[in-house]
Structures are given as C-alpha cells and as structure tokens.
C-alpha cells in the first residue's frame, strides 16, 4: 500500500468546512497516485 493512500484525520461533526477541505485535498492526493494495483483479485478470464 502506498504511503499516501491511507489517510487518518480527526474531524468534529461541527467542522463541515474543514471536512470538505480535507476530503478535497485527500481526493487530489489519491488521484495523483492512481489506481491501486497491489492486492487485487484477478477476475477469471473466460
């Protein structure tokens, strides 16, 4: 797992603005990493 893919934050239910900012930031970060190719189940090819 890449270091930036898992993110922890402590946000209060009252901090709506901060929550939105955080999610935006994390989404950008994860998009930059791209799709995860490590632990994936391979679909059986028919």
């Amino acid at each position: 797992m890449e270091g930036d893919r898992v993110n922890f934050a402590w946000v209060s239910a009252a901090e709506g603005g901060r929550f939105a900012d955080l999610v935006k930031k994390i989404t950008e970060r994860v998009e930059k990493i791209g799709p995860h190719e490590g632990l994936l189940k391979k679909r059986i090819e028919v």
């Binding site: 922890f8 934050a9 901060r18 900012d21 955080l22 930031k25 632990l39």
Partner: protein, 317 residues
C-alpha cells in the same frame, strides 16, 4: 530437567490434593521424542504424567480463558505474559488461577532439529545442560541447544515469569533489551521487495487457521474470517485474501501479542507470521512505550489514552 519434572509433579500433586485447584494444565511426554503435549490433570495420582523439558513449547494460556473451575498452570515466561494480558482483558480471573512459573531459557525448534537429522529418524533425545543429544538407529549426535532454539525464544526477554504464585527452578539469565534487529533490517528494504517477501510467504498459506487457534489472544467468539454476513474476506487461498487475513490478524493482536511464537510453531507450511506481528510489537513499544503482558499495572495499550500520545499518523492539513 529431571529435577524440574520432579518439582512440577510434586507441586501439582500438592495443589490437587489440598484442593487448591481442581485442574492442573501442564505438559506430558508425547508419542514421539521432543513432542511434549499439553495435558489436563484432575486427580493427584495423575500428576505423575507431568514433565518439564525444552520441548514444552505450546502456550498454555490458550487453555485458561473463561474456565469455571480453579486451575493451576505450569507456565514459562511467555505463557505468563499471555496470562497477564488475558487477566487484563477479563478473560482469566486472577483469583481462580494458580500460576506455577518456570523460568525458561528457550524451547527447541523441531524444524531445526530435523535439519540436523538430514532425513534420519529420531528415536530418542536426551537433554544436557547446554546440548541436546539426538539418537536414532546407527547415529548419535550432540548439538548445542542454542542452535536449536525457536527464533521467538532467541529474541525473548521475558524468560522469567513476570507474575507467579509458585516459582520452580533457577532464574533465567537477563538478556538485556530486545533490539528488533531483524525487523529493522526488513524495514530498510524497499517497499517492492517487502511486498515480494510477503507474497512469497503468504502464498504458502493454506488458510487452516492453526495460527489463530494456537494464539492465546485470538479468542473472538466469531472470528472475522469465519463471518458470513458480511463476508469480510474470501475463503479460498487467493493471495489478496490471505494477505488481508494475516494483516488483519496482526492488527487485532497489536499491543496484545506477547511474541510467544505460538502462531509460527503451529503453522504447518512455515509462513513467517511473526514478521508482521513483531513489527506491531516494535511499533507499539517505540511509539507508546507499551509491552504486552510485561506487568500487571499498565493499562492495556488500546484502553489507555494520553494527551501526549503520538499523532504522526494523522493527515497533514
């Protein structure tokens, strides 16, 4: 060792005869050399079956959870650490268990013994102070015990029971702090190489769950791997499922695992299970200065909160 066996028998006999306990959990000679097996003794005469030597490797804490009767247990250092952990988690009632502690210098790894035998059959093993004499048809070899120890015993710093009601035998030597050299060396390797190592190890796993069953800390009534609604992970031997199983198990025992190595010993295919759990042990010790089962006073790692706890895992804003 014979002296210790005698002491164990006598102690167990007294405990049962004086009705201090209803049951003694200890070890008896197995059907093959170096294969001592856990035994439950309920009457004083049965205490003669008990033995003590360097193949008493199972963690007996596994048999003590939620027992209705008063139990005496013959426990080495790692068993006692697990017992302490289980007492703190309310799985063992301290008033209902009599701990007969035995200082331990390490137990013998049969896989290492097998390597010395080079395919020959072992019919008898005799233990000396520092060596083990292995005998079979047409051969007799003596191997230093230090070369045959389990890896978990080599890194163990708690050979002496941390709590006990009765202590038998001489104290084990102090080995100083665990340096976690093995884990540090592994951490230094590149991520891809580490993943490769785990993929190699975990692809051996047959998902028999012997590691979970041997673990004294794995006592959930329904384990996440057995759960069907929701089914958290697939039940086959797909590598991604297997890695998830081992990763989640390592997280579940984080800060609880006493690194007794029972999982490693139980594994029939030799998966390096301790690599993950020991990394957790190292992190918990370094970040939170907590060692599972090291004493009765510390609150369990996950039950304690300090304002100065590490927060380096939180996302940067």
């Amino acid at each position: 060792m014979e002296k210790l066996t005698k002491m164990v028998r006598e102690t167990a006999k007294n405990l049962l005869a004086e009705k201090q306990v209803d049951l003694v959990v200890g070890f008896a000679e197995g059907t093959l050399p170096l294969r001592c097996t856990p035994v439950f003794v309920r009457d004083p005469a049965g205490a003669e079956a008990l033995v003590w030597n360097s193949s008493c490797e199972n963690n007996l804490a596994n048999y003590l959870r939620k027992r209705p009767e008063k139990v005496g247990v013959i426990a080495k250092g790692c068993d006692v650490r697990s017992i302490v952990g289980l007492i703190k988690e309310n799985q063992i009632d301290r008033d209902k268990v009599v701990i007969v502690g035995i200082p331990c210098d390490g137990m013998i790894d049969r896989k290492k013994v097998d390597a010395c035998l080079e395919g020959r059959e072992l019919t008898e093993a005799a233990e000396k102070a520092d060596s083990l004499v292995l005998k079979g048809r047409d051969f007799e070899i003596s191997v230093p015990k230090a070369e045959l120890m389990h890896d978990s015993c080599a890194t163990c710093r708690y050979g002496n029971p941390v709590i006990y009601d009765i202590l038998l035998g001489d104290p084990a030597p102090d080995k100083g702090e665990d340096t976690f050299a093995d884990i540090k060396a592994f951490e230094a390797r590149p991520a891809a190489e580490r993943m490769q190592y785990f993929a190699e190890q975990m692809s051996k796993c047959i998902r028999c769950y012997a590691c979970r069953n041997a673990c004294p800390m794995c006592y959930c009534k329904e384990c996440f791997v057995d759960c069907a609604t929701p089914q958290w992970i697939g039940k086959g031997d797909d590598l991604s499922d297997t890695v998830i199983f081992h990763a989640v198990r390592a997280l579940h025992v984080a800060g609880r695992c006493a690194d007794c190595g029972a999982c490693d010993r139980a594994c029939p295919v030799g998966v390096d299970i301790r690599k993950l759990s020991r990394k957790m042990t190292k992190d918990v010790k370094e970040l939170f200065a907590y060692e599972p089962g090291a004493n009765m006073d510390d609150k369990t790692f996950l039950a304690a909160f300090k304002p100065e706890d590490q927060q380096s895992f939180l996302v940067e804003e």
